[in-house]
């Protein structure tokens, strides 16, 4: 689970990592008070979970009250469905630094990544001048130790005062990583101000979903779903992504789904949505199909090869869902695995033509999607 910038900064602030003066507003009415607190010039930062906000125009520097109102109005009515803005003081930036802590799966360690050349071009730097990026493995039993943060910080060759601030921030960033069961904590850019202070310019925290049971502070935020179908799927606990193609996919397993996605593309078709209909969701045929039918697709393709997710149970669910929902588009099934013979009987008795070969099923779905055009 990814936190919003304002949430990440809230966490940073509590941990003792300096953040700019700021105020979160949910409507244009709150802007004036925010400006009084924060001062001018300031930055209006749209709170959305997707990246590349700067390039998409979702971050605006404003110098006057009028400009602030004008830009805030634009952002609140932006198609990106922006629910809140972080109004933040404008910082006199001397330098932008990159720091993050993530997981290194091979070594089974945490990995501190740092570069004195932070900012939006960090990924380019990683490719072109990887030597400018420090990668420092951390044993999670002891955590990031003071001497390690010291080694990293002095490596930047900042002035002593900046270095001391940097050491503290690195140590605190690790405590956040640990305390929040994070997949990633990232500050990019970390500003060094002209006044000689080190301040988090942005903040990204991704909490491990498997640790949700012990990370209850920030529940999954639903305001960022783009469509009703995505929202419904999330409520039902069903992984779902919406695209703008023709074939609605109900598949089991991320690997098989991705493969079917590839096969559809190879055959010249397009995907309308991805829906996880396997694992713990294999008994949720009704909800799954209901969500699929909300997406404007031309055909629904169901591909499974289940083990614990029994084929017969899935087939029964599908048949039941068809009876209840009376879908307005053709359905192609390719349901295999445990008890597949029984599944075939069930599907046939409901008038469907069960297929057994994934490629064949994909070809049929693509053909149907083209016919419907």
């Amino acid at each position: 689970m990814k936190l919003y910038e304002f949430q990440a900064k809230e966490v940073f602030n509590e941990a003792g990592i300096p953040i700019p003066k700021s105020r979160l507003i949910q409507s244009i009415d709150e802007l004036s008070i925010a400006l009084e607190t924060v001062g001018l010039p300031c930055v209006l930062k749209s709170q959305v979970l997707s990246g590349g906000r700067g390039k998409r125009g979702l971050i605006q520097v404003v110098k006057t009250k009028e400009e602030a109102h004008q830009e805030a109005k634009k952002l609140f009515t932006h198609e990106a469905n922006i629910k809140s803005l972080l109004v933040e003081e404008a910082i006199d930036i001397d330098q932008e630094v990159y720091i993050s802590i993530t997981v290194e799966p091979e070594a089974a360690k945490a990995l501190l990544i740092a570069s004195s050349e932070g900012g939006i071009d960090i990924e380019t730097l990683a490719v072109e001048q990887p030597e400018k990026i420090v990668k420092y493995p951390i044993d999670i039993r002891d955590g990031l130790q003071n001497f390690q943060a010291t080694e990293v910080a002095y490596g930047f060759n900042f002035k002593p005062d900046i270095t001391k601030q940097m050491i503290k921030i690195l140590l605190k960033l690790y405590t956040v990583f640990k305390q929040y069961d994070a997949e990633l904590v990232e500050i990019n850019p970390l500003f060094i101000t002209k006044q000689g202070l080190v301040v988090a310019g942005d903040g990204k925290i991704m909490i491990d979903d498997n640790s949700a049971f012990r990370q209850t502070r920030y529940a999954q935020d639903l305001s960022d779903y783009r469509t009703e179908a995505e929202y419904e799927a999330n409520r039902a606990g069903i992984p779902f992504i919406q695209f703008d193609g023709d074939i609605g996919l109900m598949c089991a397993g991320a690997g098989l789904t991705t493969t079917v996605y590839d096969l559809i593309n190879y055959e010249g078709g397009t995907v309308a949505n991805y829906l996880e209909f396997g694992g713990p969701n294999y008994k949720k045929a009704l909800e799954a199909m209901e969500i699929c039918l909300k997406v404007p697709s031309k055909v629904i393709l169901i591909v499974t090869f289940g083990t614990i997710a029994r084929a017969d149970v899935m087939a029964e669910g599908i048949v039941d869902a068809i009876k209840r929902l009376k879908p307005d588009r053709p359905i192609v099934t390719c349901i295999r695995g445990t008890n597949e013979a029984r599944a075939v009987e069930i599907l046939k008795s409901a008038g469907l033509e069960p297929l057994f070969d994934t490629e064949e099923a994909v070809r049929k779905a693509v053909a149907l999607s083209k016919e419907a055009k």
Binding site: N210, G255, F305
Partner: protein, 295 residues
């Protein structure tokens, strides 16, 4: 033949009295697995499939020789159960738990390294050597997948494994040992770490890996081939060639891999190392034939 487990491997089951544990213990035994005993705290004295149950692993190993431990333990308790098995000197551990906290998995893998043990999982169906033995939750009854043979299979996926393996079997091949390393970002055991075992296994004539977007496990396989650690034919199938790119892991993910880690990069690395990469599941079996891998 097979690696990791065969008929002679003595298996202990942690969490044997639970619903899932008892169900799959029966299936493991049906397939020939030598399940010698089980552990569930508080259930000592009970039996599951005639196998005695103990309160702790420590108690169990007093009475039984044990080579491997199979865990049917909820994700939150998995770290503790793995540590218990490791502390008792067990060197092969399989956990199928789906939902093990990330930071727990880091500790599990780190501890496995310290103990020079192999922990396979989580988020997997486990390990199966068809007609020999099984540790996990494989539906060995699906004949067109779980057929004995001479192809080693390693996978990060669930259903896709059935899809691909079915294509191998369709061509007349079978499986020596199938290892599901699991779909978690930090699996206990990685592809490249199992290659030396497949290399040493006389009956395994080729290995198929079923990979995914993200991470560096496939690149590590390419490196192992480059280093001569693995010299047998290797065919890879990778889903996600056309998948829309998500930027899930912020900049850090891209930085770690130096902007690499995409399916294209994996394909390049594997191809350079001399492995074949299948575009469709069906092609896996076809490529094995092209390589003249005996059936």
């Amino acid at each position: 033949m097979s690696i990791f487990i065969d008929k002679s491997t003595k298996v202990l089951v942690q969490g044997i009295t639970g619903k899932e544990g008892a169900f799959w213990t029966k299936h493991m035994i049906d397939l020939g697995t030598d399940v010698v005993c089980g552990v569930t705290p508080g259930k000592a004295g009970q039996h599951v499939e005639d196998r005695p149950v103990y309160n702790t692993v420590k108690e169990a190993i007093i009475h039984h020789e044990v080579d491997a431990s199979m865990l049917f333990v909820p994700p939150r308790l998995t770290k503790d159960a793995v540590f218990e098995a490791l502390a008792s000197g067990i060197k092969k551990i399989v956990t199928i738990a789906d939902g093990i906290p990330l930071h727990d998995m880091i500790r599990i893998r780190q501890a496995a390294k310290d103990y020079k043990a192999l922990v396979v999982g989580g988020n997997t169906s486990g390990v199966i050597s068809p007609e020999e033995a099984m540790m996990g939750s494989f539906p060995h009854w699906i004949e067109r997948v779980y057929k004995k043979g001479n192809i080693g299979v390693m996978t990060r996926s669930g259903s896709l494994t059935n899809e691909v393996t079915a294509m191998i079997v369709e061509k007349g091949y079978g499986v020596s040992t199938l290892i599901g390393v699991g779909g978690d970002p930090v699996p206990g055991t990685r592809f490249a770490e199992m290659l030396p075992y497949y290399e040493a296994d006389e009956e395994t004539k080729a290995v198929v890996i079923i990979g995914e977007l993200g991470g560096t496990m496939e690149e590590e396989v390419a490196e192992a081939i480059n280093k001569g650690v693995f010299t047998k034919p290797l065919v890879a199938f990778l889903g996600g060639r056309t998948a829309p790119k998500g930027q899930k892991m912020g900049h850090a993910g891209a930085i770690i891999t130096g902007g690499k880690g995409s399916v294209e990069d994996k394909i390049t690395a594997l191809t350079k190392a001399g492995a074949l990469v299948a575009k469709r599941p069906r092609a896996v079996g076809e490529l094995l034939e092209e390589l003249n891998v005996p059936k």
